[in-house]
Symmetry: C5
Amino acid sequence: MLPLSDSPIVRDGKVLILAYDHGLEHGPVDFEPVPETMDPERVFEVATHDAVTAVAVQKGIAEAYYPSYEDDVNLLLKTNGTSNLWMGEHDSAVNCSPEYAADLGADAVGFTLYGGSNHEVEMAEEFREVQEAAREEDMAVVMWSYPRGQGLKNDTKPDVISYATRLGLELGADITKVKYPGSPEAMEHACAMAGKSKVVMSGGSKASDREFLETVESAISAGASGLAVGRNVFQRENPTALLDALEEVIFEGASADEALASTETAAADD
Amino acid sequence: MLPLSDSPIVRDGKVLILAYDHGLEHGPVDFEPVPETMDPERVFEVATHDAVTAVAVQKGIAEAYYPSYEDDVNLLLKTNGTSNLWMGEHDSAVNCSPEYAADLGADAVGFTLYGGSNHEVEMAEEFREVQEAAREEDMAVVMWSYPRGQGLKNDTKPDVISYATRLGLELGADITKVKYPGSPEAMEHACAMAGKSKVVMSGGSKASDREFLETVESAISAGASGLAVGRNVFQRENPTALLDALEEVIFEGASADEALASTETAAADD
Amino acid sequence: MLPLSDSPIVRDGKVLILAYDHGLEHGPVDFEPVPETMDPERVFEVATHDAVTAVAVQKGIAEAYYPSYEDDVNLLLKTNGTSNLWMGEHDSAVNCSPEYAADLGADAVGFTLYGGSNHEVEMAEEFREVQEAAREEDMAVVMWSYPRGQGLKNDTKPDVISYATRLGLELGADITKVKYPGSPEAMEHACAMAGKSKVVMSGGSKASDREFLETVESAISAGASGLAVGRNVFQRENPTALLDALEEVIFEGASADEALASTETAAADD
Amino acid sequence: MLPLSDSPIVRDGKVLILAYDHGLEHGPVDFEPVPETMDPERVFEVATHDAVTAVAVQKGIAEAYYPSYEDDVNLLLKTNGTSNLWMGEHDSAVNCSPEYAADLGADAVGFTLYGGSNHEVEMAEEFREVQEAAREEDMAVVMWSYPRGQGLKNDTKPDVISYATRLGLELGADITKVKYPGSPEAMEHACAMAGKSKVVMSGGSKASDREFLETVESAISAGASGLAVGRNVFQRENPTALLDALEEVIFEGASADEALASTETAAADD
Amino acid sequence: MLPLSDSPIVRDGKVLILAYDHGLEHGPVDFEPVPETMDPERVFEVATHDAVTAVAVQKGIAEAYYPSYEDDVNLLLKTNGTSNLWMGEHDSAVNCSPEYAADLGADAVGFTLYGGSNHEVEMAEEFREVQEAAREEDMAVVMWSYPRGQGLKNDTKPDVISYATRLGLELGADITKVKYPGSPEAMEHACAMAGKSKVVMSGGSKASDREFLETVESAISAGASGLAVGRNVFQRENPTALLDALEEVIFEGASADEALASTETAAADD
């Protein structure tokens, strides 16, 4: 584990990752609700918001857009990922070597592990290589820990999420990204299971401001170190307002109510 | 992404690739309509036309013929490809290492990715290696992005082509070659999906001059950066006339009508 | 084989390994009986007991917790392991390279071999790489030799356990960890089969103090060099008392009776 | 492509390869008609005939016998091959690295590619490695291009043989060895398809002198650069006489009739 | 091929290998008839007999026992092997790298090839790596050539054994170990098929002194260079007497009768 307090992707022990790999993982369909979100430029602009501690993208996006933002945005390079054109057993191609990620200026690398997939063993070995090379380059390691496969009917069950965070700790992730397990108690258990490593919850599909902020508040109270969010920010008309609110909840310990009130006041002041 | 304005395979932001890998991919049958096209010499001669920014061939063709043309033609070495003697799930052998491509004088490397194939993960990882090595050698990277496989009934559907160009962007291609998705609107969407990376349309099987030029005009208007063409040039009696016309449409913004008129005038002048 | 008398994980020819890889191999369910055992800190504290010659953990646990204990605890880094989210043929991912284990300060590496599994050949070849690299780094090599697979109905049968210890000897382990084969005679045979290499018995699931100590006494009398124990220590209210007793049985040749009496006296003295 | 005029395995643009890999590919059964042919010594003796530009053998034969013949015989090391004890899908093991071939003094390397086999992709990638390494060592590259597999009912059909020679050209062979496609027209087409690279016909099973020489004459007239022959030379009582005749047909442009007459005269003179 | 006359594992052109890999290949069951044979020490003691030109063991046995015998015994390190806990298609794990074998002081490496197995191609490629690395280290190469698999109903048929010795020659073994093909004529054919490389017969399961020596005599007369023997020596009460007799038959050209007479005389003299 890195001394994460030194990592630029962590601020005051907290993390807010703007995840933007939908173009690879889900394809154009994910941009349909708000077509301008297909433009990576817009996402990097959003990522300059103070609340965002890193933007997570694939190699090609980083190559084309990051050079203009390297002073203002921290880069979390997602090193694997696969299109959903493919229908086979859960797996993910390693699309970027960690050495190349470092060359691109990455502060951290991201890696999806599908525990429970028939490709789990192979993916864990690929994770090993990425993780150890990231250590060489002083990049933090973030695991997208998403158990999937035949034996797993429900991939947000509390014991599955707790196993997912434990995989992050045991295999050497600094931060493990998991789905919200449904209750604060389950989230607390999942965070305890991760020991000294950090847990961030995954933003999931779009919800209302209040609903979303309350889930984040509950996760933070339960011990999560923050959030990795994509559509719940990009697909809003005003991502800045939501990021203002998230900043209060994640970094300042505000409740969802307080954060909503304060951002509404700010909006009224404009 | 390379600063493509510096790459010899791009002129004024536009690209015209003469693709000549049919001998490997389709075999002798593709040369039957015009038998002399089996001779690579003829293709390199055609490629000396000013309109052509690169010729795309397999390693063996480059080894045997490129030394005589290296001053006049830019080389796009196609690094993978497979015969159609083989009937299995879509896959492609890596026939040339990027280092060897650079030794042969290549300005760019080409790579076919069959998104949706059961070999997608493996091919994406091979692409990673080729792409990163190409960066080391300052060669541009062109992806032949051809989704195929069980789940894909129609491989020119607009959303499939838009996914194909997005794969190029996300995985780190500088230029992505796709089939024409059937309408200018669909082509525009596919180009937007590619962000800062470039899109070229694939020439496809032989069409009439007018029909072909109109499709190219429509693609350029929709944001495409050019064309990768094989049979539609080789199989003509007078490839030069068509290349003259393509030059006007692609590099000078002429309409198909204008280009046809101007080349007919030129022919009358002879 | 290393001159094991020089290895810090062996004391007076004997070994007591505290094994703590349940979080990866079995998941959160193994911590349910005593929830605080999910905290690796607690295990490292227990491992400072004089009786413990090494603690066996996965890479991530070592990264996060070992730096505070490297003066007081010897590290046996378990280099492979897999979650039980996965239901396939017995296999295990290599999660830590031996070089990285050495960087983390490991005194020894551990490796699970499932003899009889359809992955036996592949695992044996992975073992080769770990074993030879461990020799380079002067780390001892401990094999978790657990025959499994279609052909094996009973994996604690005497001839299976004797084959398991022989695999350790033939393939180059210094110490082989096996399940108790059910009788002192069988254990004696298994130890003889290991030749000059050492055999430690696996602690298994939780038993009563007396029952457990008697099995250990019997194994030691039969020629075993010690014990690798997890739940039978962690899940007790007072691990220290049991470790005191184990120290007497393993390192001082006491009987289970003597060790129990002496630790009860010590408890009464407090 | 190498400047083949500099290669010792080519004389005046022509090639006569003595192929002796039957011991591996077919086993002892191939030596039954003439048992003394099992002795490699005899083959190397035959290969000292002026007509022979190279002998093609596996690594072990080269190691044991070539040192005594390196001044008199050019070595074409066959780098892959497999026994027919095995009944699976067409494949071939790489038995010699190109670097080792160079150490043994090889002037060229040989490689079998089964286009159309389910192993085509893998074999083509192995060919890539051998081909590129051969370039480093200035060794010529000879492909045994033998399309096989489910989709191929007839492996000497003209279009199959033309595809086979094209594979040689596209993938980077200097010389491609194919079966005779049945007619001079088909052979001519196959040679044209190979462009600047050379084509040699495979000798096949034993035929009469006249029949065999006529086929060779026809192949040479059709543009073939020569012959790779095994049983048709070894299994004769007087290989020298046939080699004399082949020399006239291949290197001196004689007809089969002329060559037969001239060798009969020579025999009468003895 | 090495100049084998320089190799310590050959004396006067003859070879007697004491093979002791039963512990891995067959497991404890092979030691049941004579339990003390499970102790490798005993085998190394026997191997100090003058008649023995090398002892063949797996890596772990060499690591633990060879240091005390390196002045008196030549080491043939068996680099692959697999337990019979596993029931799958014939295959064998590479358990020792040739470089590590050299570090252990090996004079030669051994490798099992199952020609005809579905793993033949993969095993032949592993053999290539071991063979070429052995050349670098000046170690002789011994192939255990054991055709097996679906297509092979009888693995001691003369033509199978002749194919087996030919595989040794073609692939680059110095010495090939095969089963006795049932008759002196068949053995003679198998030895001729091996050309300049040497053939040793495999000792097989335990037979009477006379029966065994007569088979050896017959093999030597047929051209074999010696014997690789395990159980037929270890499982005797007096291995020395049999080795005395074998020495006469193998190195001094005695008949089985002469050797038996002479060792009986020696016994009477004691």
